[in-house]
């Protein structure tokens, strides 16, 4: 019996490892590691699982262990996307004074990236239908994209997107005019 247990344990050859990392923004992370009908759920920083030929099992890990095993992959991690949020003067296609300053700060950030690509995302408030706001949000994004191109950013490096009213900064009911939700995000990555 003892021999059999040893034999079974000996068969569980490690095939890999998974470690959940702390999110810098403090968001809660969850990762499910599944092998066949067996699952280990990782739900706190440095929770770890070893995958084996007989299914996953929870193991201990920590920053030093992660650096030793995954340092190469982590060192190659691209810079986190940076978000700049721009607001418009009510009813006009013109940035507020504060947002004009934010717009200017985008350029030194772009210059820091060896191969920048920029996503411009338009948002609206909740007044109107999805179809209307999808179009309006894309128009706002296109306007900012044009402004970036005029300042010398390559057109091929900028994508404009419209999220309509799906992603409000401030939650409101339907049909609410809210200046803080009429915005354009410039994401540099």
């Amino acid at each position: 019996m003892v021999a059999m247990v040893a034999l079974v344990a000996g068969c569980a050859t490690p095939t890999g490892e998974v470690v959940l990392l702390p999110a810098p923004d403090g968001h809660r992370s969850v990762l499910a590691v599944t092998q066949g009908d067996r699952e280990v759920v990782l739900d706190k920083p440095y929770a770890a699982a070893q995958t084996t030929t007989q299914g996953p099992r929870a193991i201990e890990s920590g920053p030093k262990d992660v650096e030793a095993k995954f340092g190469g992959a982590l060192a190659a991690q691209p810079a986190r996307p940076q978000t700049f949020t721009l607001y418009f003067v009510e009813g006009r296609n013109e940035l507020t004074d504060e947002s004009k300053r934010v717009f200017e700060s985008v350029f030194p950030d772009i210059a820091k990236h060896p191969v920048p690509d920029i996503v411009v995302i338009g948002h609206t408030d909740s007044v109107g239908t999805d179809a209307y706001n999808d179009k309006l949000s894309l128009q706002r994004a296109d306007a900012v994209r044009d402004a970036l191109i005029q300042r010398g950013i390559r057109a091929g490096d900028i994508v404009a997107e419209g999220r309509g009213k799906r992603d409000p900064l401030v939650a409101t009911g339907e049909g609410v005019s809210e200046a803080r939700n009429r915005r354009v995000e410039v994401i540099v990555r």
Partner: protein, 149 residues
């Protein structure tokens, strides 16, 4: 069933050949990095755009970092093989699907807009396990050796 599958794959092939959409970009590249795209080997150098189906390989001295269009960050250490198996991303609704797989080596992942919108929209596979990503940063390794039973 088989005929349907065939029709589907022909359709997908046709769509792929007409419009091979860029789904991400190589932001960090050092040492030997190659991309296998439909049987062709390309240099995985800085700034190269990646596409669905690409298999990214790093050599013994290589590493690579990719930013996907949904803001996911994938980076692989030395001696790794990373496949971008399936990718669909609706930039208006944030809905879609991202399936990647690590055949061997090491991979660090920061999930993006897809996983944030729909838990379950992103998976990372190794030869032995499936990782369901629900808004997460993690690292994963896959050993070279016996496959899972």
């Amino acid at each position: 069933m088989r005929r349907w599958k065939l029709a589907l794959s022909v359709l997908m092939f046709a769509a792929g050949s007409v419009q091979a959409a860029d789904i991400g970009q190589i932001k960090v590249s050092s040492g030997s990095v190659t991309i296998n795209r439909g049987g062709q080997a390309l240099q995985g150098s800085l700034g190269v755009r990646v596409q669905q189906g690409d298999v990214v390989k790093t050599g013994a001295n290589g590493s690579v970092g990719i930013t996907m269009s949904d803001n996911s960050l994938l980076s692989a250490g030395p001696n790794s093989v990373l496949a971008l198996d399936q990718y669909a991303f609706d930039t208006t609704t944030n809905q879609g699907r991202f399936d990647a797989s690590l055949a061997k080596g090491t991979l660090a992942v920061v999930s993006g807009r897809l996983a944030k919108q729909s838990p379950g929209a992103m998976t990372v596979r190794t030869p032995s396990a499936i990782l369901g990503v629900r808004g997460t940063e993690f690292v994963v390794s896959a050993n070279v050796g016996p496959a899972a039973h």
